[in-house]
């Protein structure tokens, strides 16, 4: 490493750059006073706080100019430099990734020949933002709500079920997408509401379709588990939706979104399963296969009543095991 200009980068608490100062000549001084090359508005920083120099061997160093608060080498952590280990010293060697804290301000120094990552291929569909995805989402939700209202429309009374059903479904999804858009605005500076609305709509439609498919499958092949874990399947789908929501907020941290969604899925399904177990002593939704469908799709032949009734003996044995569940309480 030789001479040449340097760039002093001031960072915020989350580690993002808030200001850059390009300095042609060294030494560079940092402080609150106007005679510094880098001026910092931080009441905990001295008028002349530190000096950045280049040693004979080419190393950049930061030197404390005799301040009360001193300078600290921060061992950077990924999430927040403020959480890392800190060490006060009079002189800190400035490698390109070394963070230095002076008062409440953090900075790093990089030479102008610092290598940067190659440009990423932009796969974002920039036209697919805003009202376009929002309209598609609205259309999907409205269709779903209309279908639902139609399938429950078995009376002759005029009850405006179609209108209220659409309003309800769309309203709930607006709130859901709105919450994600707010987070997006907070962490990434823009809302991307249309995208979040579309993700929510796709989730709802997917949950509806899988549930319907599970009911048909369960009936056709007499599969109790297919309807029994309906809620769990919905929670898996919800976790996938959460993954896409998080990935929309932070498009470059897919790994984080993945971890977040997996943690969400485990937590939600675990809590739901525990609740079911506490109330029904089983993790699923129902005690039996609850779907009755068209006769034509039944693929299994019925058993004889004798065979069916014979299995009642097993149920009786299972019930017998539970008879003394409450023994040990303060009774009898």
């Amino acid at each position: 490493m030789s001479g040449g200009p340097i760039v002093v980068e001031l960072l915020d608490r989350a580690g993002s750059v808030v200001a850059r100062h390009r300095c042609i000549e060294l030494p560079v001084r940092l402080g609150r006073a106007y005679d510094n090359e880098v001026i910092v508005d931080d009441p905990f920083v001295a008028p002349n706080h530190l000096r950045i120099e280049r040693r004979a061997n080419g190393e950049l160093v930061a030197q404390d100019l005799g301040t009360r608060n001193g300078i600290y080498a921060v061992t950077a952590r990924r999430w927040s430099p403020w959480q890392g280990a800190v060490k006060r010293s009079n002189e800190i060697v400035l490698t390109p990734d070394a963070l230095v804290r002076a008062g409440h301000s953090t900075f790093r120094v990089r030479p102008i020949d610092q290598a940067v990552a190659p440009e990423r291929l932009d796969t974002t569909a920039h036209a697919w933002e805003g009202w376009r995805p929002a309209m598609v989402a609205f259309a999907m939700l409205a269709l779903l709500a209309m279908f639902n209202a139609w399938s429950a429309d078995t009376t002759t009374q005029e009850s405006f079920v179609y209108e209220t059903s659409v309003a309800l479904v769309v309203g709930v999804m607006l709130v859901w997408a709105g919450a994600w858009a707010l987070l997006n605005r907070l962490f990434a500076g823009r809302a991307r509401f249309g995208r979040h609305f579309l993700i929510g709509a796709v989730f709802i439609v997917a949950a509806f379709v899988t549930s319907l498919a599970a009911q048909l499958l369960a009936y056709a092949f007499s599969l109790g588990w297919a309807t029994r874990f309906d809620s769990h399947v919905s929670l898996v789908l919800l976790s996938i939706a959460v993954y896409f929501h998080v990935a929309t907020i932070k498009p470059l941290s897919m790994a984080f979104a993945r971890r977040f969604a997996v943690a969400f899925a485990l937590l939600a399904m675990g809590l739901f399963g525990l609740y079911r177990y506490a109330t029904q002593q089983q993790f699923g939704d129902s005690l039996y296969m609850t779907s009755i469908q068209w006769p034509a799709i039944r693929m299994v032949t019925p058993v004889s009543t004798d065979a069916f009734v014979k299995e009642i003996a097993d149920l009786k044995s299972r019930a017998d095991l539970r008879r003394n569940d409450f023994a040990g309480g303060e009774e009898n």
Binding site: T154, T305, A319
Partner: protein, 468 residues
């Protein structure tokens, strides 16, 4: 509105069985439950008014000179039974009783002393005579099915016994019922004998006179002052429709109880109750299944039920022009249930058939309705003190009859925790041979053995089919 009888002390319990066909109807049921409770309160309040001490109200129903004579003759034998909590000795239930032998044997209802029998460590009981004398009592012999108990007055042997009648009664004969209604004081009420009701498994005398909670276990005597029955229950939906346990069962139980000197232990009572329940269920199952189940037509389907002794059906075919499908139901239940404890009622069979059909709806929407109704069934929970949680199995089943159709059926079993070998079997079956009509059958057989449970479930599954 509930249409079955209830024990005297357990007026509200009759409404526990309030019947809800689906969640859609659950709301309606809550409304009807609330209405029923309000009505009950009204009925009770009315009863109190008639029996109450207000002279203005008692005047029109002034007792005959005979009643005064009867009361004078019986009052020495009559007493109030008070069930008290062991800690605090506060009143948990009251009933009435009467002395039947000079060595202190007496009679009351089983349901009056059931707390003492089931939980002897938590309850004690005392008798209070019309003169205000108190004495401890012990339970010697119980008859859960006829709702009778033989008890012994422990120390006071100077209470004179009443004679048990062995004469047969004529319709319209005057009877007098005695007891302590609602803990207000001893009372006598006049009424008439209206025959033996033999529809329940255990015959009861229909007494057209007023009896009220707290009179349970008291004697009903004829003109000569001899006991012809024991007050047991009344119908809430009728006026002066009361029931007495016939004296012949009292005599039988006294003969059995006379030999007993000390109160049996909780375990002994429990096995006694278990035996009586087992006997009851075999009677119930045999009567139901002694011939193949008859069927009623519901649309093109054959809905199995035997409306024989003990089982009564009510149909409901509401005209619902707002629905795009047709719905009717048939609801049958045994007329009596066996009350083991306040909240354990068993020994019954309930059957509900629901017929769904549509001409104007497409099969998709019909299937939604039909499937939802099949889904909205409950089979009990795991926290019940008296029953285990349900253990269920389901399958497509086809009965043996020539007219049988395939059904989707689920059967759930719950065990009675305290009584060995008795279970509740719940069957839910839906015919699956048509996409625009179908029959749902829900059958509950409570307090029966495995063998009888299997027989009953099989009988119903075999009989569900199409009309010949």
């Amino acid at each position: 509105m509930s249409r079955h009888q209830s024990g005297l002390t357990t007026v509200v319990l009759a409404y526990r069985d309030t019947y809800c066909a689906s969640w859609v109807e659950a709301f309606r049921c809550i409304i009807s439950f609330v209405t029923s409770v309000l009505l009950t309160t009204a009925v009770c309040a009315q009863g109190v008014g008639v029996q109450g001490p207000s002279p203005a109200e008692t005047k029109p129903q002034e007792l005959s000179r005979d009643a005064s004579r009867i009361y004078a003759g019986a009052k020495g034998s009559l007493f109030q039974v008070r069930i008290l909590t062991a800690t605090g000795r506060s009143q948990a239930a009251t009933g009435s009783g009467f002395v039947v032998s000079s060595d202190g044997l007496a009679i009351t209802n089983y349901h009056v002393v059931s707390k003492l029998v089931v939980d002897p460590s938590r309850y004690v009981a005392e008798a209070v005579s019309t003169a205000g004398e108190r004495d401890d009592i012990t339970v010697l012999k119980i008859d859960v099915l006829h709702d009778l108990a033989v008890i012994r007055i422990n120390k006071r042997r100077d209470w004179p016994p009443l004679r048990i009648s062995s004469k047969s009664l004529k319709q319209g004969e005057r009877l007098y019922s005695l007891g302590n209604p609602l803990d207000l004081g001893f009372a006598i009420s006049e009424g008439s004998f209206n025959g033996l009701i033999t529809r329940p498994y255990y015959p009861q005398i229909l007494f057209s006179g007023a009896i009220n909670s707290g009179m349970s276990g008291g004697p009903a005597v004829d003109e000569s002052g001899e006991v012809v029955g024991v007050n047991v229950s009344k119908r809430l939906d009728g006026e002066q429709i009361s029931f007495l346990v016939p004296a012949q069962f009292v005599s039988l139980l006294i003969d059995q109880g006379a030999a007993t000197t000390v109160q049996p232990t909780q375990q002994e009572f429990r096995s006694e109750i278990g035996q009586q329940l087992t006997l009851h269920q075999s009677t119930m199952a045999d009567q139901l299944l002694k011939a193949p189940l008859a069927t009623r037509a519901m649309g093109p389907y054959a809905a199995p039920i035997n409306e024989r002794q003990g089982i009564r059906c009510w149909g409901d075919d509401p005209n619902q022009p707002q629905l795009k499908y047709y719905y009717s139901r048939l609801h049958c239940r045994t007329e009596s249930v066996v009350g083991v404890e306040d909240y354990v009622r068993t020994g019954f069979i309930n059957v509900r058939h629901e017929y769904f059909a549509t001409k104007q709806l497409d099969s998709f929407r019909f299937m939604q309705i039909y499937s939802k109704a099949y889904k909205n069934e409950t089979f009990g929970n795991y926290r019940d003190r008296h029953w285990t949680g349900p253990e269920c199995n389901d399958a497509f089943v086809r009965g043996e009859g020539a007219a049988s159709v395939p059904v989707r059926a689920v059967v759930c079993v719950r065990a009675l925790r305290k009584f060995d070998g008795l279970y509740e079997f719940a069957l839910m079956a839906a015919t699956v041979d048509d996409s625009r009509s179908g029959l749902h059958t829900r059958m509950d057989a409570s307090g029966v053995t495995l063998e009888n449970g299997q027989r009953i479930v099989k009988a119903f599954l075999d009989a569900i089919g199409r009309q010949p």
